[in-house]
Symmetry: C2
DNA sequence: AAGATTTTGATTTACGTACATCAAATTTGG
DNA sequence: CCAAATTTGATGTACGTAAATCAAAATCTT
């Protein structure tokens, strides 16, 4: 049988009340006694029954998700997944609230974070905007003992407890290798469609992509990045224009969220021209394009996994428990038309 | 606040004891009363607090994993993951036992399953061997109300509650497309190395692979399958032999677990010859081969995810709870050298 | 060594559910 | 309509932990 608080008391030769004081860090215990209890805990290999503890405390986990108010299908998907998580709240003892913050606005994000410091939720998940002020605000929360995880976009240099998202440099490299290998020996140009170079994940994807193309596929040259602001109209115009102006374009890497316009432009081009396309984010549109052959591969991060992982990690950190690293690693999914979910 | 049994009692106008009788299916409740309580449960949207219930019951989930006694690195990995799960048992209230059964021996598997019917564990996970007798044995367990999930290898035609594994036909098709696209316009032969065609997952992978090659890559022809029985020596000999006898081999699909021999054979061949290789299962060997360029892509199923998913599903089924389908879908991982974990 | 202070112990209640027991009420059978 | 059988209610204990209270003991001050 699993050891209980009673076993600790017996092993340490103290009363239940003292064990409780130590376990819950209540005052009024001498150093020596505290150490005696802690030794006993280690020796009998006690782990607190979190379920029983939560029952006794009537505990819930107030969690806050800070999200940019971006209007693209990935963010919509993320919101939907959070709503699903909220539906599961009674069972999971969570109490999830979302806070929307203007996209790419470090000051607004810092303000939101500072406000939460007073509120003291059990944990915070945020889609980070990369700026020194944000790093400082996050570190302050961490110092205050509030678990923080970054979601989708990481915050390097900060002491956040965890990052629930993919490695975007690796994603860019993977896209480059797929495109390069799919194109074989062909020589030509590659167009890159991004949302905005102000976003860290887009920058990182481009960085990885460009590096690997330069290193391993010298026959391919990358055209200046098209920044479509994840807007269908704009992306359509830019891609159509690029395809007509550069007849040597044989590949496209779409690393942002504005794939609707891209797909339209690709379908509009002459059917004689074969363009190999790698895009990010699996949506109804990219899925259809994958099936009809307009897109050759889709890289994806599963928003549902990211949200559930963030919640699991925040709860675990709040309880001071270990997380299963392998379980919480967010994988970069590669979809061809044959392994669609 | 979440409704409790007291709220049910109040809503239904009965006593707590009656609610308890209904909830736990104890006898001595009139039809009408039972229905009244059930209506109340639905109306106030009651969900049993599983944590509290388990606490009261002192419940643990006795689970049994039935595994083939195969000696390959994937199965070793699976065993390791189960051992990890056993370490988490105190926290997860599981009590996991593994049963080893001779590989590819339906009779032995049926015997093991029948034996478990008496033991009545809270759930059973099995690596299925595909045979009518096994289907019948599994269906009997299901009829007895014991949750059953298949692991790694499914059992079509049975009424198992869940399958924790990948779609192997899709895996074969994905391998075919990767190989076909990587080879571009080249014409030549493709060698397939399998463990044994007696194993369902290997058969299915081959089926998907051959179908897609025939359909979309007519310039490639598939050589007769090499059955290496997942043995390094044997695989080495067979592949080396095939490579020397068939000078037109430009691609290899290794769909089994015996990649050590394959890698050795590939490294032994003349360096002038370029062979594109897609293999299954990420191990230390395939990982190294991917990095040094001997292998071009690795398809993988994460044994840890499969085990944890199986456990979650079995517990949920035992409690009559819903599972999050998206969370329990085991994905086919595609690894290039750039997105290795 | 007396009193003040700190530390420890003993005990109780609570969380939401399970399960058992006994008494009371209701229904059923004859 | 009475007795027997069934159904329902009332109540208490338990699970492992949290949290509070009050008394007792130990330690510290001077």
């Amino acid at each position: 049988m699993r050891p209980t608080v009673h076993d600790i008391a017996a092993a340490a030769g103290v009363s239940l009340a003292t064990v409780d004081r130590v376990l819950n860090q209540r005052p009024g215990v001498r150093r020596i006694t505290r150490e005696k209890v802690e030794t006993a805990i280690r020796e009998i290999d006690y782990v607190r029954d979190v379920a029983a503890a939560n029952l006794a405390k009537g505990r819930t986990y107030p969690l806050v998700f800070i999200l940019p108010s971006s209007d693209n299908s990935f963010m919509h998907g993320l919101h939907a997944e959070i709503r699903d998580a909220i539906k599961r709240s009674p069972v999971e003892r969570t109490d999830i609230r979302t806070v929307e913050v203007a996209a790419f606005d470090p000051a607004a994000l810092v303000a939101a974070l500072d406000k939460l410091a007073d509120e003291r939720p059990a944990g915070i998940a945020l889609v980070a905007t990369d700026a020194p002020g944000v790093v400082a605000a996050v570190d302050k929360l961490v110092d205050d003992g509030i678990p923080v995880v970054t979601l989708v976009s990481d915050l390097t240099g900060s002491r956040r407890h965890h990052y629930a998202g993919v490695d975007n440099i690796a994603a860019g490299r993977t896209a480059a290798r797929l495109l390069g290998r799919f194109l074989g020996d062909a020589e030509g140009e590659v167009a890159v469609l991004a949302g905005s170079m102000l976003v860290r994940d887009h920058r990182e994807r481009l960085e990885g992509f460009a590096a690997l193309i330069a290193q391993e596929f010298p026959k391919l040259s990358i055209l200046p990045v098209l920044e479509g602001r994840d807007d269908p109209e704009m992306a359509h115009m830019m891609v159509a224009d690029a395809l007509s102006r550069h007849q040597r374009v044989i590949g496209v890497y779409s690393l942002g969220a504005g794939n609707r316009g891209l797909i339209k432009a690709l379908k509009g081009k002459g059917t004689d021209r074969r363009v190999t396309v790698v895009a990010h984010e699996l949506t109804v549109h990219t899925r259809a394009a994958l099936i009809d052959g307009t897109i050759d591969a889709v890289l994806n991060q599963d928003a549902g996994h990211e949200v559930r992982s963030a919640i699991r990690v925040l709860k675990a950190k709040a309880d001071g428990l270990a997380v299963i690293d392998a379980q919480e690693r967010i994988r970069l999914d590669i979809f061809l038309k044959d392994n669609l979910p």
